[in-house]
Amino acid sequence: MNDTSDPKFWSDLVDVLILGTGQTLYMVSIALLVTIIVGLPLGILLVGTERGGLFASPFGSRTAGRVINRVLDFIVNLGRSIPFIILMIAVIPFTRLVVGTFIGSTAAIVPLSLVAIPFFARMVEIALKEVDPGLTEAANSLGATRWQIVRKVLVPEALPSMLLGLATTVTSIINFSAMVGTVAGGGLGDVAFRYGYQRYSTIHIVAVIIIIFIIVQSLAAIATHFAKKYARTSSDSGRIKAVESLELKAATESR
């Protein structure tokens, strides 16, 4: 079956890799989109509902702010602590509810998003906390609304830092996307499992590693490129340099 002299082997390999790469990119990109859409507001709320934050007293009640903050913090911590393979199984009923099935690449997007959202929300939280509180104060002195402060001050100022967080998040989504292969989610992880593990094909494994490496590196490079583009302070640039040198390491470390 692993007869490399058979021309069919090579054409099969290419077909399998193209399909796997397509599925991986599909899962990762949709999961990433969902992660940004949910994780960004979640991170903003996490910071905002803290003491003295922009949304410290929603509806005029500090208790409400504190409760929201505690609940979100708990959810994020919970999401961050559960091993992915367990989370994936645990959310199957939810996945079924959302997608209708728990098998296939589309279904895999659900657990992938669920694992990445808390992760990215923390990244957003950290990035927002680095924004000088004096800027919020200045915007307040101009008579800005809370929404204006979020949109025009906090998010743009935290953008370089958030993009770096996004680079790390993408890496971990790709990492986890390989695991969904084990529950019939498809993708490059599935290729590695079925061909590399079950059929002992070294060529498949090597090919998968190369493709994943290229995907991780290019997505991370895109994110840091934009982080660099929007960086206006020396502390931003310093952070980007540090992240760049750690990128290779981070790609393996988050495993």
């Binding site: 000088d132 004096g134 002195s141 204006q148 025009k152 206006r232």
Partner: protein, 330 residues
């Protein structure tokens, strides 16, 4: 224009509670530049931040341009803030926006549309002398230029009042002077009332019409500078004309004479020596331009005791001069 009435503010609770402002009342007239001086921790920063309610006072009322800001609801407070500009010690500019973008932020907040925003931001940058840097980012500017952007941003909403929170404290002396000149210019040209806080007496001397001294959260003294300098025992006046300590070993009567207004250019000392036939020694002197008027203080040593010099001192006082006895005799 700004009326602060019986304002108190404390931080913390229980034994760690500190009273930052203790029944403070201040009156800032229209078109005036009013300086609040004090040591760090005296409560001056808290005071200026209560005016636009960045810090909400525990008690008391604050009125700005006829509007009682302390009783406004959130929405009205935001509108009121648009009429109160504020400049910060550390500039607080958005690093993600250009100079023009920072000024436009103030206009976006009040809902000015794109085209007008650009032209108004241009005008204001012209006023603060930064037109050539409109497309630069704050990281590319010097401290003085950054503060000019801060001032431009605060003026964009056409406020009637400007609050300056140690605007020059992070700047070198030369830059400080140019920023103070700019504040003076906008005060005059835009008929803007300015309330500033500072720990530098020089700032008060250079641009203020009125001043207040704050200590331990209380106002120790306040008034128009021209009046303060002719008020006996005024500590602000003494700080405006620092003459130092009386040198050891002086035996006679030491007096400080304050000249202001018309008396500053009369030959007072020569006359004193001639009329009373006494050998006057000058121990120290300083002349300043305060609130646009020449004013000075001279420390003299007269031989003999205060009693033997009573006639001479009475004569000086009769000329409208402020005479204070210094040292042991006082």
């Amino acid at each position: 224009m700004i009326s602060i009435s019986h304002v108190s503010k404390s931080f913390g609770t229980g034994p760690g509670r500190t009273l930052a402002l203790d029944d403070v009342s201040l009156e800032v007239g229209r078109g005036e530049i009013f300086g609040v001086v004090g040591q760090s921790g005296a409560g001056k920063s808290t005071l200026i931040r209560t005016v636009n309610l960045l810090e909400r006072p525990d008690a008391g009322t604050i009125t700005v341009d006829g509007r009682v800001v302390t009783s406004l609801a959130d929405r009205d407070l935001r509108i009121a803030r648009q009429g109160i500009g504020m400049v910060f010690q550390h500039f607080n500019l958005l690093s993600s926006r250009t100079v023009r973008g920072n000024v436009e932020l103030a206009l976006e907040v009040i809902g000015v549309d794109g085209k007008e925003r650009r032209s108004r931001a241009g005008e204001i940058l012209e006023l603060v002398g930064l037109s050539s840097k409109a497309d630069a980012y704050p990281a590319q500017l010097s401290g003085g230029q950054k503060q000019r952007v801060g001032i431009a941003r605060s003026l964009a909403g056409r406020p009637s009042v400007l609050l300056s929170d140690e605007a020059t404290s992070a700047l070198d002396p030369e830059t400080t002077r140019s920023i103070l000149e700019l504040l003076k210019t906008i005060n005059r040209e835009l008929d803007l009332t300015v309330l500033l806080i500072t720990h530098e007496m020089d700032v008060v001397k250079t641009i203020c019409d009125s001043a207040a001294l704050i200590e331990g959260g209380r106002i120790a003294e306040q008034g128009r500078l021209v009046e303060l300098i002719s008020t006996p025992g005024s500590r602000l006046a003494r700080d405006l004309f620092p003459l130092g300590d009386v040198p050891a070993g002086t035996t006679g009567t030491v007096i400080d004479i304050t000249f202001s207004g018309g008396s500053a250019d009369r030959p007072v000392i020569a006359q004193l020596a001639r009329d009373h036939a006494i050998d006057v020694s000058i121990l120290g002197a300083t002349i300043e331009t305060i609130a646009g008027n020449q004013a000075g203080r001279t420390r003299l040593e007269l031989p003999g005791t205060p009693t033997t010099n009573a006639a001479a001192i009475a004569d000086l006082r009769a000329q409208g001069l402020l005479v204070e006895l210094v040292g042991d005799a006082a």
